[in-house]
């Protein structure tokens, strides 16, 4: 067990280090770029006084390192600063919106993950027959269309032509869970479609990889039934690759959610980020960027940890 624990600890440390470096990267990305940030925020017609004020407010007169350290210290205390455009506390607005985004992503994952694994198994079961070919055709089509277009196609046909679900995902606290779910039906459908294709394809590949191993042949030559072979021999070795697939696609979902929220004007983090990028509200963009990166890094870390823990070589060292 020691080797595995050590590896997991290393992986967690690596994740934290990565997060730290990403915070530097995001900070540097917004500050050490050509041109004056204050100028580009206010535009060419800004008055010198306004520019000077904004520079002061952004702390641009101080060295970059000092600003980074004070920003990072703030982040540790849950203080993400205030938005330039509205003057609101970022942590507070972000918290509410993060909750909405996770709500959306959660329901998308609840539907997409089992469905993708089921369809992936189906594709393996009917390998090179029509269900497999249909699935890979749909996959090719769906990775060839950007998320926002899938969103509008669904909105046009299901939301408008058929009227089954609202085209705009309005949310407020007074809604019951059922009402909320009805409101997010379309965005959840889009997100599901977006990750489904990838997840299905990767699941299929992962299971096929296991099914082609020599130990599956050994099991077949023992005269075991198909169910026993899959349950006792293929499944224990497929957990790690499948969890990996799921985690990588949940990470992918984090990106997809940005665009889908804009399409359905859903009050989540993605829309918050995009709005403030257009308004050049740097503190908000930094905070959102950091949160998205943290989720992404975290999910990748979980994927790696699961594959470490399920590796029999590490669980049962020599």
């Amino acid at each position: 067990m020691n080797a595995a624990v050590k590896l997991v600890a290393q992986r967690v440390a690596l994740g934290l280090l990565l997060l730290f470096l990403v915070s530097i990267l995001i900070f540097v990305g917004t500050l050490i770029l050509p041109g004056d940030v204050a100028q580009s925020i206010l535009g060419q017609s800004a008055t010198p006084e306004a520019l000077a004020n904004l520079r002061k407010e952004l702390g641009l007169n101080e060295p970059a390192l000092t600003r980074y350290v004070s920003w990072l210290a703030g982040v540790f205390h849950g203080d993400l600063g205030t938005a330039l455009t509205s003057g609101q506390d970022i942590a507070e607005s972000l918290g509410r919106r993060l909750g909405n985004t996770l709500f959306l992503a959660f329901w998308a994952a609840i539907i997409a993950v089992p469905l993708a694994i089921f369809l992936g198994l189906l594709a393996v079961r009917y390998r090179d027959r029509w269900p497999d070919k249909l699935i890979s055709g749909v996959t090719l089509a769906s990775i060839s269309i950007p998320e926002f277009l899938i969103g509008y196609v669904l909105m046009y046909f299901i939301g408008v032509k058929l009227g089954w679900a609202p085209s705009v995902a309005m949310m407020n606290d007074s809604m019951s869970l059922g009402q909320k779910l009805h409101a997010i039906a379309l965005p959840v459908a889009v997100l599901t479609l977006v990750v489904l294709a990838h997840m299905m394809r990767m699941t299929r590949a992962a299971i096929l990889n296991v099914m082609q191993s020599a130990y599956i042949e050994t099991a077949e030559l023992k005269g075991l039934s198909m169910f026993t072979i899959i349950w006792r021999h293929a499944f224990p070795n497929s957990i790690a690759p499948i969890v990996n697939v799921v985690m990588l696609n949940l990470a992918y979902l984090v990106v997809g959610v940005v665009v889908v929220e804009v399409v359905f004007t859903y009050p989540g983090m993605g829309q918050y980020l995009v709005d403030h990028v257009s308004k050049r509200d740097v503190p908000v963009v930094q905070a959102c960027g950091l949160v998205f990166a943290a989720v992404y890094i975290g999910l990748n870390m979980v994927a790696d940890i699961v594959s470490i823990l399920s590796n029999p070589r590490l669980r049962h060292p020599k």
Partner: protein
């Protein structure tokens, strides 16, 4: 080789070529001027306007053709940038090895730990949004993926006995890179190029749709969706045309890339 091309690859090649020709000769093909208002708002398809008009009465087909030109141009330029940067650095890391390889590879790991779209949004929040900036941001962010592939392929080839044989013969680094490694690395890279191009098309369309890509009045496929999206709620499908365009282009390029990759693997399979 061309004779043995599977039908899917022929179709893919045909549509890819068609789109590129349309992009190059857009001013000759387009029936109206790019920003010319020629009719009412969201007119249905008619002989004058084959797929109707857009949200301010411009000919939608014309917008689509010019939009394709912009989208394909940006995607192509960004792909070229991403490929040259990524493959040159990747090969270099593989052949030189040591700390150079370590430093570059770890930096790429770091860049890839942030989703490209998020990082692009962070950068675009402080830079002016112009076409050259878009190309540079997209190209450099994506070059990380090309770097990984190029390095992996080159590392694999670099340990082959035939490369060792060339080193034992006393061949210089130039012969080893250009005569031993490159010919064997080319096909997987070309296939990947197709996938990167598709990704660039999707990427620039997404940015434009979010209002952070190509700025009006210039047309591009993502922007056309943004301009016409309000029609959707009234049952006007003008915003869906780019979906058709992007999907057909992406699928065509995919089919060509698949074919290139299959040819490569069959050439490599010299186990007979």
């Amino acid at each position: 080789m061309i004779k043995n091309m599977p039908i899917a690859a022929v179709i893919g090649l045909f549509f890819t070529a068609l789109y590129f020709l349309m992009a190059i000769f857009a001013p000759l093909i387009a029936p109206y001027g790019m920003a010319e208002v020629v009719g009412g708002v969201w007119e249905p398809p008619s002989p004058e306007h084959l797929i109707g008009t857009d949200n301010i009465g411009r000919d939608l087909l014309t917008r689509m053709i010019y939009g394709g030109r912009t989208t394909i141009f940006i995607a192509t330029a960004a792909t070229i940038l991403s490929f040259t940067t990524g493959s040159v650095l990747g090969f270099l890391a593989a052949v030189v090895g040591g700390w150079v390889d370590q430093a570059m590879s770890r930096f790429v790991d770091l860049l890839m730990s942030i989703p490209s779209l998020i990082f692009a949004l962070v950068v675009l929040s402080v830079t002016p949004v112009t076409i050259p900036v878009l190309i540079v941001v997209m190209g450099l962010l994506d070059s990380t993926r090309v770097y990984r592939l190029a390095r992996a392929v080159a590392v694999d080839i670099n340990v082959m006995d035939y490369v060792e044989a060339a080193k034992l013969r006393g061949e210089g680094r130039a012969w080893i890179i250009f005569r031993e490694i490159l010919p064997n690395a080319l096909s997987p890279l070309v296939a990947e190029m197709g996938l990167r191009f598709i990704f660039m098309v999707l990427f620039v369309s997404t940015l434009s749709f979010l209002g952070l890509g190509v700025q009006p009045p210039a047309a591009d496929w993502g922007g056309i969706v943004k301009e016409n999206k309000d029609g959707i709620v009234y049952g006007i499908g003008a915003a869906l045309w780019p979906a058709v365009a992007i999907a057909t282009l992406a699928i065509s390029v995919n089919l060509v890339a698949d074919w290139v990759l299959n040819r490569t693997t069959s050439l490599k399979g010299g186990r007979g």
